[in-house]
C-alpha cells in the first residue's frame, strides 16, 4: 500500500465518519419516516389488496422461504400496524423499537408486493434508506422521546455516518441502473431508438389496457432520432451520481438533473418514482440540520423577495450546506 493509498483511505474515513449534530440524522428520520408513512397511506388499497391476491407466489428477497401466500388477516393487520408504528418512528417515540419494526415491516410488505412474478423498482431506495436510518441513533434530537429537558448532544460520527451511508447507497443505486443499461442494452441503448421505443411502448401498453397514456408521449415519440441525446444524457446522469457526494454546486446540479429525469419519466411514461420525485431520496446529500431553520425563515425570505430584496442562501444554511 502506498502513501497515496493511505492518504485516500484517511480522506474517505474522515468524510464517512465526520462528526455531525444529532439534528442531521433526526431530520432525515422525519423526512424518510413521514414519506414512508404517507406512501403507505396513499397506497393502502394496493397493499390491502395483497390480502386477496390469488395466483402463483414467486417469493423474492427476505421472503425467499415463503411457500404459501400469507393469510388475509395477517396481511391486513401487518399493513395497518406499519402505519401506526411508522407514525411513532417518525415522531421519535420508542425509537429503539419503532425504528427497526417499521423499517423491517415496510421492507417485508414491499417484498411481499414484489413476490408475485413481477419485481417492482419503485420502493427499493425508500426501503434501503429507511433501514439505514431506522437502525441508527436517529432520535437523539427532534424526538417525542426527548421532550424532557436534556443537554444537547455533541456532534458525533454516530449521527453523521448513517446519513453518509444513505448517500452512498443512493449513489450506488443510480450507478447500478446506468451500468445495467449498458450491460443489458449495450451502446445501442444510447445510440439507437430504444428511448423512443420505451416511451412508445409505455404509452401503447396503457392504451391496450384501456387506460389513458401521456398526451406528451405522442409528440415526443415523433421526435425520433432527436431523442438520442436524451438517452445519452439519462445514462450519464445515472453514471455520474457519485458527483453528488462532492457537495456544493456539483451535488445540487446532479440532484436537479436526476429529479428532472424522474419528472420526465412521470410526464412521458406515467411511471412515478415517488421517493426521488418528492426530493426525499436526495435529502441525505445535504446538511439537514439547517432545514428546520430554513423552513422557519422561508416566509420572511419570500416577503423580502417580494419587496425586491436579494435572497440569502435559499436553504438558509451556511455555504457548506
Amino acid at each position: 500500500m502506498t502513501g497515496r493509498d493511505l492518504a485516500l483511505g484517511v480522506r474517505i474515513d474522515s468524510w464517512l465518519f465526520e462528526p455531525a449534530p444529532a439534528e442531521r440524522l433526526a431530520v432525515l428520520r422525519i423526512l424518510v419516516g413521514a414519506f414512508s408513512v404517507t406512501y403507505l397511506a396513499v397506497r393502502l388499497p394496493v397493499f390491502l389488496a395483497l390480502a386477496e391476491r390469488q395466483g402463483q407466489l414467486d417469493p423474492v428477497g427476505l421472503l425467499w422461504w415463503l411457500a404459501e401466500p400469507l393469510s388475509s388477516g395477517l396481511v391486513v393487520a401487518w399493513v395497518i400496524a406499519m402505519l401506526v408504528v411508522g407514525v411513532a418512528f417518525t415522531a421519535g417515540v420508542a425509537p429503539r423499537a419503532s425504528g427497526p419494526c417499521f423499517a423491517v415491516g415496510v421492507a417485508l410488505a414491499a417484498t411481499y408486493r414484489s413476490s408475485w412474478g413481477q419485481v417492482l423498482w419503485l420502493e427499493n431506495l425508500m426501503v434501503l434508506q429507511l433501514l439505514i436510518v431506522a437502525f441508527s441513533a436517529n432520535a437523539d434530537a427532534w424526538a417525542a422521546s426527548r421532550r424532557t429537558e436534556r443537554p444537547p448532544t455533541e456532534p458525533s460520527a454516530a449521527y453523521g455516518w448513517p446519513v453518509r451511508l444513505a448517500a452512498l447507497v443512493t449513489v450506488a443505486t443510480y450507478v447500478l441502473a446506468g451500468v445495467t443499461k449498458l450491460r443489458v442494452g449495450g451502446l445501442d441503448w444510447m445510440l439507437g431508438d430504444t428511448l423512443r421505443n420505451h416511451i412508445a411502448y409505455s404509452a401503447a401498453r396503457l392504451e391496450l389496457f384501456g387506460e389513458a397514456s401521456s398526451p406528451l408521449s405522442r409528440s415526443v415519440v415523433q421526435l425520433g432520432s432527436w431523442l438520442r441525446p436524451f438517452a445519452v444524457l439519462a445514462v450519464l446522469i445515472e453514471l455520474a451520481a457519485p458527483v453528488a457526494l462532492v457537495g456544493g454546486r456539483l451535488r445540487t446540479t446532479w440532484t436537479v438533473l436526476a429529479w428532472t429525469m424522474h419528472a420526465a419519466i412521470a410526464a412521458l411514461l406515467f411511471v412515478v418514482f415517488p421517493f426521488p420525485l418528492a426530493g426525499v431520496a436526495f435529502a441525505c446529500f445535504y446538511r439537514l440540520e439547517h432545514l428546520p431553520g430554513s423552513v422557519r425563515r422561508l416566509p420572511a425570505q419570500l416577503r423580502s423577495l417580494g419587496r425586491g430584496g436579494t435572497p440569502t442562501n435559499p436553504i438558509g444554511g451556511p455555504a457548506s450546506w
Binding site: A49, N197, Y201, L208
Partner: protein
C-alpha cells in the same frame, strides 16, 4: 459495516440476479424494438366491435406492469381460460365475449394513431358472467 452494506447493494449485479430491495435496477434497461407483443384481455360487443378493458377489470390493479405480468403469467402457465373466467365478472354491460390475447403492435404507429396491429393470437374466450 459500510463496505458490507455497499457490497450487498451491488451484489445483484455481481450475481446477475434481480430481487427486492437489492436490485440490478433493470427497468428500461433492455433495448426495445418497435414491434412488441402485448398479452392482454379484450372485450367484444355483439357486432364484433372490440372494447379495451381497464386494468382494474383485467387484473384488479392500477399498475400496468403488474397487469401485464399477470396476463403474461396466466398465458405462460396455461391458465388463460381461468383468467378469462375471472375477468368475466368485471366487464362492461355491452361486452358479449371476452378474449385473452397476445397482440403484436408497432408501438410507434400505435402512439401516432396509425394502424399498428401486426398479428394476434387468441388464447382463450369466454362470456361475461356479471
Amino acid at each position: 459495516m459500510t463496505a458490507v452494506v455497499l457490497l450487498a447493494v451491488v451484489s445483484p449485479v455481481l450475481r446477475d440476479r434481480d430481487s427486492f430491495p437489492l436490485s440490478t435496477y433493470p427497468m428500461y434497461a433492455s433495448t426495445r424494438p418497435d414491434v412488441v407483443a402485448f398479452p392482454t384481455v379484450v372485450g367484444r360487443e355483439a357486432d364484433g366491435r372490440r372494447v379495451r378493458l381497464s386494468l382494474q377489470a383485467i387484473a384488479r390493479t392500477d399498475d400496468a406492469l403488474i397487469g401485464q405480468a399477470r396476463v403474461d403469467q396466466a398465458i405462460d402457465e396455461g391458465r388463460a381460460g381461468a383468467l378469462c373466467a375471472d375477468v368475466a365478472g368485471r366487464v362492461p354491460e355491452a361486452v358479449t365475449r371476452i378474449e385473452v390475447v397476445t397482440e403484436r403492435h408497432d408501438v410507434v404507429h400505435l402512439v401516432g394513431g396509425h394502424g399498428s396491429l401486426v398479428d394476434r393470437a387468441v388464447h382463450a374466450t369466454c362470456e361475461p358472467t356479471g
